[in-house]
């Protein structure tokens, strides 16, 4: 009688729970957990839109994806929609980048002026001529790490719409879908 004849078969429930080789299963599980964590933290962060400040393009209750890695890799362009962090990642502002670092920004009678030139904004459904910013009438010159962000729903009263200048470090990523 050799040793293989004495081998006790592994119970089915143990195979189902931890596989034929528990060590390999543990390594696979660890890699899977790590990859999932990295994917949902840096590659694509799922979000749910709440509120109407980004309508008509982004509706209340819609699900979207934010990509931090695309933001780090390619930076931001005018027109990108970004998530801006508050004290963490559970709640973030979703806004459109209108002004880039170093530019002069002003909103006059609802029209956005970048370095004095009116900006074409095809994503807007309508805009209110009551929008004027900054209130002192002067242009706002953006610093080296500052972006001017605002929502797409410019029909909202100005005082009910949260917008302004975001520091680069507060931007988590841009919307990819």
């Amino acid at each position: 009688m050799n040793s293989s004849e004495l081998a006790v078969p592994v119970p089915w429930w143990r195979v189902a729970a931890v596989g034929r080789n528990p060590r390999v299963t543990a390594v696979r599980l660890g890699v899977l957990v790590l990859l999932t964590f990295l994917a949902f933290r840096y590659l694509f962060v799922p979000i749910r839109v709440t509120g109407i400040s980004m309508s008509p393009g982004y509706k209340d209750g819609e699900r979207r994806w934010i990509s931090p890695i695309l933001f780090w890799w390619r930076g931001l362009d005018r027109g990108d929609v970004v998530a801006i962090q508050m004290s963490g990642r559970q709640v973030m502002y979703l806004k459109r980048v209108i002004g880039l670092p170093g530019e002069r920004i002003r909103i006059a009678k609802g029209d956005v002026l970048v370095d004095g030139e009116p900006l074409s904004e095809p994503y807007l459904l309508n805009r209110s001529p009551a929008w004027n910013w900054p209130t002192n009438g002067a242009d706002r010159i953006l610093g080296p790490d500052e972006y001017f962000v605002v929502g797409d729903n410019r029909a909202m009263p100005l005082e009910n719409h949260y917008f302004g200048v975001a520091d680069r470090k507060r931007i988590l990523g841009k919307v990819v879908r």
């Binding site: 508050m86 004290s87 963490g88 559970q90 502002y93 500052e146 949260y162 975001a166 507060r170």
Partner: protein
């Protein structure tokens, strides 16, 4: 009993011990977080809640503030308002109940820092409020960043100061 089973059992025991530690030996940060989450729950209300229950909950909230507490909040479309002392805070909470049918206040992403003296704490958090007004078009959702300062008095934590933090600069 093989090594694999022993390893699993040890992991389960360690997990249980870690969980029990959280129940029996709360850190100061956990105490602060529980206090603030309780405040958020007690400030929230719904139309089914009676006046007596509402007043009792407000009293509970007020007792979580120091007598010299201050609140400086900038609300979108409303402006900045300052409150000083428990009486003014109580009046503001009662006013909110009169103005709205329902309010759901939640605190998210709490970053808690207990100072070295162990007697003061600072919390950076995001608050969301979902309100249902009494009139048409008065419903609203708002998210704001806040800084809370707390003080420890007679073994318990009390809110001393609340201020809004502007997420976007003007």
């Amino acid at each position: 009993m093989n090594r694999w089973f022993l390893g699993m059992a040890t992991a389960v025991l360690l997990g249980g011990a870690w969980f029990a530690r959280g129940i029996f030996f709360q850190s100061e940060a956990v105490r602060v977080e529980r206090l603030l989450q309780q405040v958020a729950t007690d400030v929230s209300f719904n139309p089914q809640e009676g006046n007596v229950a509402g007043v009792r909950r407000i009293s509970g909230v007020i007792n979580r503030f120091t007598s010299d507490a201050t609140i400086e909040v900038e609300l979108l479309g409303v402006g900045t308002f300052n409150l000083a002392g428990r009486d003014e805070i109580q009046q503001a909470l009662l006013g909110a109940r009169r103005a709205a049918r329902r309010l759901a206040l939640k605190f998210h992403d709490l970053v808690i820092q207990i100072e070295e003296d162990g007697q003061t704490a600072e919390v950076h958090l995001t608050a969301t409020s979902e309100a249902e007004g009494r009139g048409r078009n008065q419903d609203g959702f708002e998210a704001l960043e806040f800084n809370f300062k707390l003080r420890k008095l007679e073994g318990g934590w009390f809110i001393q100061q609340i201020t809004t933090i502007p997420t976007l600069k003007q």
